[in-house]
């Protein structure tokens, strides 16, 4: 079984050639499911099998096929993945600031009479999901960690949800924000990417991009994508306010954002 995999045959203990595992190294076990817009028939079943073949699966078995009516059929299948990944070569951009404790963060920012960092936050566009941004900003925080409001090191303004980029920018200027936090939860048809990119453009057009830290977050947000969009960081599912506070504190200090004018 191991040997007939194909020329690409990898070795799982070699990070250069890693493939899925079911119960034996390199067995390539993968589970797949999908619907085809075709009524169930022997031919449609074979079609599903071939699609899996095109995905590079061998020994494909369709374990479940259901006719859903109205010209659709559903398949659950397993196969052995002939592809492998070279784990050794993967480099992923990461947030490198170290996580500090609540009081470390306050001390770090305010030490030597530093001023508080001004943080504005919103869930933008038509997105009405406040739970994520509130988890980061509100007093009560998230999963046992206080939100930014609780820190002496920050002055915060949480605009809530359904905030247009226009309004966010205006409020940020008025608030003299050092940091802009944007939450995006609705991501259907990639609506969030446009929203986020637009904000970066507006901030740049305003000529203040150098003076603010731009951070976005949401369940489908990744640091990598955030960087591509021109943000300074992106935080995904399960983020703790502590991670965000640590990042903001260290970046704001190291970029000298709070040194400029002591308000």
């Amino acid at each position: 079984m191991k040997d007939d995999m194909d020329q690409e045959s990898g070795r799982g203990d070699d990070p250069g050639r890693v493939r899925p595992y079911g119960d034996t190294l390199n067995d390539g076990a993968v589970q797949v499911s999908f619907t085809l817009p075709a009524p169930l028939s022997d031919e449609a079943r074979e079609g599903a099998r071939r699609l899996a073949g095109k995905m590079g699966l061998k020994d494909v078995t369709i374990y479940h096929a259901a006719d859903m009516g109205a010209g659709f059929s559903y398949y659950i299948l397993y196969g052995r993945c002939t592809h492998f990944v070279d784990m050794g070569r993967i480099v992923v951009p990461k947030i490198t600031t170290r996580t500090m404790t609540f009081s470390q963060i306050n001390d770090f920012v305010l030490q030597g009479g530093g001023r508080r960092i001004r943080v504005i936050g919103a869930c933008t566009g038509s997105d009405a999901h406040t739970v994520g941004i509130d988890a980061i900003m509100n007093m009560k925080g998230f999963a046992g960690n206080y939100g930014l409001e609780r820190y002496r090191a920050f002055r915060t303004l949480n605009l809530g949800s359904q905030i247009s980029n226009d309004r966010l920018l205006a409020e940020a200027l008025a608030f003299k924000a050092d940091v802009i936090l944007v939450s995006q939860v609705v991501t259907q048809k990639d609506i969030h990417l446009g929203n986020l990119a637009e904000l970066v453009d507006m901030v740049e057009a305003q000529g203040i991009r150098e003076r603010v830290l731009m951070v976005c977050g949401g369940p489908r947000v990744s640091h990598e994508v955030a960087l591509e969009l021109g943000f300074d960081a992106g935080f995904g599912s399960g983020t703790s306010p502590l991670d965000v506070a640590s990042f903001i504190a260290q970046e704001a200090v190291s970029r000298g954002l709070i040194a400029k004018d002591a308000s």
Binding site: T35, M68, S126, I191
Partner: protein
């Protein structure tokens, strides 16, 4: 179903009294008011549909004119009736003239009696029309039946109504009894109802009269195919709440999400606006035989389901009381309830069964719109599928009326075609396997479940009494629901609220009120 929780009936009665006092004082406030959306809804009843060339609905154009002319506080019927008389055209034609700036809303007419008479006649036809629609529904159900309880309710939300009909059909074939078309993100913030068969929604499909009709036709077809009436649900919610109810009543929607507070709490719609709108909107639903679904389930997405359980119950009492006063039958009031507890909490299922049973016992004649886990759903579809199965179990064990199916992909996307299929398959299996479990078991005397229910009921009473003291508006300002606080004058749509003048006249409303009593 035999009661199991030994709830103290006296406390339940006191809750109802407190809620009655609260809604009396709300209605005293709103009876005295109208809104742009109530007037637009009235126009739609009179036959003002369609849009101006730029897409703005004619009803909006007419009311904009009325606002400009300061005529809204007297009600649109008289001025519009005068315009009709003057134009000699029907309602639609007249509205088109006004929209095009070719006619105006006359502030006077030499024969207002004739105007009143003809508007009243139109109104009668309109109200009879929606009564007739309700009869059509009844006949349909009479003929085909509508399946077992709870009604299995699934959503479609592809953004494209034509794609939605395909998905609805597949769902109905798999056993769905209610199809809800989820609306485009933030449609509730639009102060108009979009026109036409719209295919470009995000996170849902635009609600429009055409879309209502297209889906109802598709469901009528599949109802015949499966030999069971398949219900259609949409939203009478947001800034267009009353209009949505009218369109729903006209196009034979069977259910509509309609809550007195949801828009305030979750959409930052002004509280005066929404509370005024809900009264008219529910009146229409009452006559149209529409089942409304309230939105208490949403509270638990922001608040903690254990700590805030009593806020749900308190809100249910208020929604019930408002709805009854607007003419809805108890059987038309689907009260929102959700299973949102952390699935990793010990005895979560035990507590949830207690909650769900409590809702049934306190509102025995009203179906509960029982909502699945959402906020504790994760990308782990396998775990999620089991959470949904536990939810189905709790539902059948407590005899719920409307069961909104959970989808294993809740944390990811609006449902794919097979998500719905698998959810229906699993839910039907679980409910069938546990069909009579409820009849078989009794709850222990001094157990966790009875204690929990009694405690929540006590807290709800306390909350209702406290709301009673300060009034519902203050309670909303004080953030007593869903951890959200809103201001009396804040939020969207306050500029669309008007105090009724002494000569306010709305024959549609009057006739609806008569119809609802018969």
């Amino acid at each position: 179903m035999k009661p199991k929780l030994a709830l103290d009936e006296r406390i339940v009665a006191r809750c109802r009294e407190a809620a009655a006092a609260i809604s009396d004082s709300v209605l005293e406030f709103t009876d005295n008011r109208t809104t742009v959306s109530i007037e637009r809804a009235t126009l739609r009843m009179l036959g003002v549909n369609g849009a101006a060339p730029d897409g703005t609905p004619l009803a909006n154009r007419v009311i904009e004119a009325a606002v400009r002319q300061d005529l809204v506080d007297g009600g649109i019927c008289l001025p519009f009736g005068r315009a009709m008389r003057r134009s000699g055209l029907d309602a639609h034609g007249t509205a088109a003239l006004i929209a095009g700036g070719e006619a105006e809303l006359p502030a006077h007419d030499d024969d207002d009696d004739a105007v009143r008479e003809s508007v009243a006649a139109l109104s009668r036809t309109a109200v009879e029309g929606i009564v007739e629609v309700a009869r059509t529904r009844d006949a349909f159900i009479q003929r085909l039946g509508d399946g077992e309880r709870p009604l299995l309710y699934v959503i479609v939300a592809s953004g494209d109504i034509h794609e939605d009909t395909v998905q609805a059909r597949v769902a109905a074939l798999a056993g769905a009894q209610v199809i809800a078309v989820i609306r485009h993100t933030a449609q509730s913030l639009l102060d108009y109802v979009p026109e036409g068969a719209n295919t470009g929604g995000f996170g849902g499909t635009y609600a429009s009269q055409d879309n209502f009709r297209i889906m109802r036709e598709a469901l009528d077809d599949v109802s015949e195919e499966v030999g069971r009436y398949v219900r259609l649900c949409n939203y009478a919610s947001g800034l267009c709440m009353p209009e949505m109810s009218v369109l729903g009543a006209v196009e034979r929607l069977d259910m509509m999400l309609n809550d007195a507070l949801y828009g305030v709490l979750f959409r930052d719609i002004n509280m005066q606006r929404t509370l005024t709108d809900q009264a008219f909107s529910r009146l229409v639903s009452a006559v149209g035989g529409i089942i409304i679904n309230t939105g208490e389930d949403n509270y638990l997405t922001t608040a903690d389901p254990l700590e805030a359980a009593h806020t749900v119950l308190a809100s249910q009492f208020i929604n019930e009381s408002l709805a009854l006063r607007c003419g809805l039958e108890p059987g038309q009031i689907g009260l929102g309830h959700a299973m949102e507890m952390d699935p990793l909490k010990e005895d979560m299922l035990v507590l949830e069964i207690a909650q769900a049973q409590m809702a049934r016992e306190i509102f025995p004649k009203s179906p509960i719109k029982y909502m699945p886990p959402t906020k504790h759903m994760t990308g782990n579809i396998f775990r999620g599928h089991v959470q949904d199965a536990l939810f189905a179990l709790a539902s059948v064990m407590t005899g719920q009326g409307i069961h909104l199916l959970g989808m294993m992909t809740e944390a990811m996307h609006t449902p794919h075609i097979h998500d719905r299929y698998l959810a229906l398959e699993s839910t039907r299996m679980v409910m069938n396997a546990a069909r009579h479990l409820s009849d078989e078991i009794e709850f222990r005397d001094d157990g966790i479940m009875r204690k929990r229910a009694a405690m929540v009921l006590d807290q709800a009473l306390e909350m209702l009494e406290s709301i009673g003291e300060r009034g519902l508006f203050r309670a909303l300002e004080d953030g007593m629901f869903a951890d959200v606080s809103r201001s009396f004058e804040g939020g969207r749509g306050l500029d669309g609220v008007f105090i009724r003048s002494d000569d306010y006249w709305n024959p549609v409303e009057d006739l609806l009120k008569i119809a609802v009593k018969s």
